[in-house]
Amino acid sequence: MRDFVSARARAIPPSGIRRFFDIAQTMEDVISLGVGEPDFVTPWCVCEASIYSIEQGSTAYTSNKGTPQLRGAISRYLDTRFNTRYDPEAEIIVTCGVSEAADIAIRAVTDPGDEVLVAEPCYVSYTPCVSLAGGTPVTVPCRAEDEFRLTADALAERITQKTKVLIANFPNNPTGGVMQEADWRAIADLLVDHDLLLISDEVYAELTYDGDHFSPATIPELRDRTITLNGFSKAFAMTGWRIGYLCAPPEIAAAALKIHQYVALCAPVMGQIAAYEALRIGEAEKDGMVREYRLRRNLFVDGLNKLGLACHVPRGAFYAFPSVESTGMSDTEFAEALLREQHVAVVPGSVLGSSGVGHVRCAYAVSRDDLKEALSRMGVFLDR
């Protein structure tokens, strides 16, 4: 029998974390700072509305691009919250999480031979999605000395004749870095000069702690060369519902919709109803969770720095990204030894891109008691 696995699928590197998974599975008392998901349960008002809708028999397909109610609510939310205006009929598609939104956005705009810039370190799916679409991923480093912002200089160095798209995620997983308006203005000039498209994954937008989130699509020159991605998982603690969305100018949205309707048909209706409720009545609970993340950030980053693990103050998302260079260990060695000896799970930064080397990602989306326990175990680990 021949090997049926495609060359493209085979070329995707295996997950750099599989081994850690297996080690953690053998332990009873792991404190996991390895999960990029809120520890909160979805606000009860949201769950209740979804349960009721199931009782009423809302179990069918919806319109491919999502229910009109949800798209309308998303459009109003983006306008009031981030100052971006998208037409709910022609410019918004509800997707199965932001993961799907990223995939269809990339596929809608990438041709074989196109170079797609990916700001690193970052969430692990962009690069393989670009490869699967036949494009060539080219990474752009964001460095600790720049507070992990994307700089015009770093970007300019990587732009070639073949460059077509830039993918960026701010507030950033795994660094917690954010981009202010001035940072984006510098990038905007390059995007316009080289006629590039921006895919901006803003799933952590609500989790911005010092000042407001800035959405690059609010820059007029970028409005029609930006695909904005966002979703409900992080802000409303709704990871398992799988609801994200893509916003783009009509021609690009129409292209992405063709892909979406063939691969997903529509996002799950229960999730869409829940998401609508989240926007309608979930704001207070969301704000409460954001306040709690900020407290945890303060506690955890202070603790890391006291332990001698230099960590910039992450201004968004729920990740701390300390350097482990002072320990003399590589990030992978550090993460593995910490897991084996003290049962604390963190993600080695090198898994999240070459510019993450020497750092580890710690998700502080766990209780403050767990964070204190993790810090104390890390203290024991470093003193050994």
Binding site: V41, R291, L295, V347, L352
Partner: protein, 163 residues
């Protein structure tokens, strides 16, 4: 009161034994600042006292509690305040509120037995001037108290790693 005071109050309400050093880190201020602010909030009466949320049943103390509704005739010039003041002095009365609706005052009363509570209501509360009617509801089970859920839920398993 500003946003920082609000954060301190929430943290203390959640756990009043949180060390000052930790409060300062959490609320992004110096320890001196935290100490001053808490002192001011105490002096202003925003912080009434520090206590624990006790699940007495779990602690092994079979205390009984009841919610008692009172219909009261208000007094000229004083309304309900004077009678409420008198009722509040009984140590058995854990909380006391003036309500809108079918009755006026609501008491939470705790005692060692149902019999004790019944006697307290019959002998101390009901005969007071201006009390027109009482209704006693025994609390059968407490599910949530001051924002704390007492029942233990099974923890949902989370993956140890995700991106």
């Amino acid at each position: 009161m500003d946003e920082k005071d609000r954060i301190l109050l929430q943290l203390l309400e959640e756990n009043c034994r949180t060390p000052l050093s930790e409060l300062a880190v959490l609320a992004e201020m110096s320890e001196e600042d935290a100490r001053d602010r808490i002192g001011r909030l105490e002096a202003a009466g925003a912080i009434r006292r520090y206590g624990a949320v006790v699940d007495w049943e779990r602690a092994g103390d079979g205390n009984v509690a009841a919610v008692i509704e009172l219909k009261v005739s208000p007094e000229r010039d004083f309304g309900y305040d004077r009678i409420a003041e008198r009722i509040a002095r009984f140590p058995q009365v854990r909380s006391l509120r003036l309500m809108t609706g079918a009755y006026d005052l609501q008491l939470l009363v705790a005692g060692p037995s149902m019999h004790e509570i019944a006697r307290f209501v019959a002998e101390q509360i009901a005969p007071m001037d201006r009390i027109r009617e009482t209704a006693t509801h025994i609390i059968m089970k407490t599910y949530k108290e001051n924002g704390t859920v007492f029942a233990e839920r099974e923890e949902v398993e989370r993956l140890p790693y995700s991106f």
